[in-house]
Symmetry: C2
Amino acid sequence: DLVEKVMDYFSDKNSYFTGVNITITAGPTQEALDPVRYISNHSSGKMGFALAEVAQKIGANVTLISGPVQLSTPNGVTRLNVTSALEMHQASLSGLKNCDIFIACAAVADYRAETVAEQKMKKQPGIDELTIKLVKNPDIIKDVSNHQNRPFCVAFAAETQHLEVYAKDKLKRKNVDLIAANDVAKNGQGFNSEKNALSVFSSEERFDITLADKKAVASQLLKIISQQYALKNKGFK
Amino acid sequence: DLVEKVMDYFSDKNSYFTGVNITITAGPTQEALDPVRYISNHSSGKMGFALAEVAQKIGANVTLISGPVQLSTPNGVTRLNVTSALEMHQASLSGLKNCDIFIACAAVADYRAETVAEQKMKKQPGIDELTIKLVKNPDIIKDVSNHQNRPFCVAFAAETQHLEVYAKDKLKRKNVDLIAANDVAKNGQGFNSEKNALSVFSSEERFDITLADKKAVASQLLKIISQQYALKNKGFK
């Protein structure tokens, strides 16, 4: 029966991802305002790098597209460094021909400056206020999930309130298979923390991963992904 | 005569700064937009940390007020960590009672968000543009240089054009004793680089420090500072 087939598939845990091409985005993006200033966010990249490390260990061919972070590349992982959301968008889409699973773990800036000043902006004496005009960045995960070479898609959602409502809404809007949501307002998890806790949603199910170090959370999340990926690939979903 | 007195003062090079209290600001500041986003700049803090290390070695009591950087505290240096320009401003002014020389090496954000969102700002569907309203941060070095407990003041200027014009203008506007200017548009120096080159201006003189690693540049700059500080303290300027 169905359950038996799935269990068989997962009995050889060391080969979950053998030969599977996984692309993972990680870290923040930096959106330049001028040659020295930028807008960014507090993503450390640790969650994405933990996912890359574990995925590689269980057999996947891992490409890690990373924004500016202070982390070394896990063994056996192919790393592509990018700075801005536009660069991350381009790197993500250009790799889709050889991508089975795409995990969007990066904290991509939603907006970038409409114009980037070529010279350092000078503070103007007497002018006490300044407005910066921002324009929307391309939506990387949405463009990946609607691409003709669509891989199995996993998105992240960092929220500070209404976790489940926002996450389920994002699952639909982004057209992804799974969404991994974490409450970054809670102490000890999320941005720049060593630990994380996730609530993972498919269109039908919810899986909770309790607070643990990011590598343990990565292992659990990859197990959920591999199960859902297998079910989908085998036509069970 | 005057020259002899000055030379005598500097003959014992190991005691340039014995007992002198030096406060150094270093690194960028981060100005929050919401719980996860911020505006910052590419300052690595390396120049300020090099100054702190060298100043401590030549006898000064060093307080290092540092923005968020990935650097360890030099031996024997008292470090105060801050995030925003407002925090750096407060830390700087509250230490002036015991400060003989203040070196403003940090790349302080000129502006901060008028309001910091308490919750993570959500991207609004259909809204492709966004403006952020910024207000001016307090001018740390100007408030230090105009304080009743005014120390000897050194400011930095990171420029991408018109180096000397901007630097000399800043020297006057900020009411400082010395300004150390570097051209961050040049390759291999300045922000996040291991090396630096400086043009140092007093109201009457110019000193050029050629491209070298930041610790060597710090040594040369501290020599200039100690000479100018001594001249001023002994009533020669």
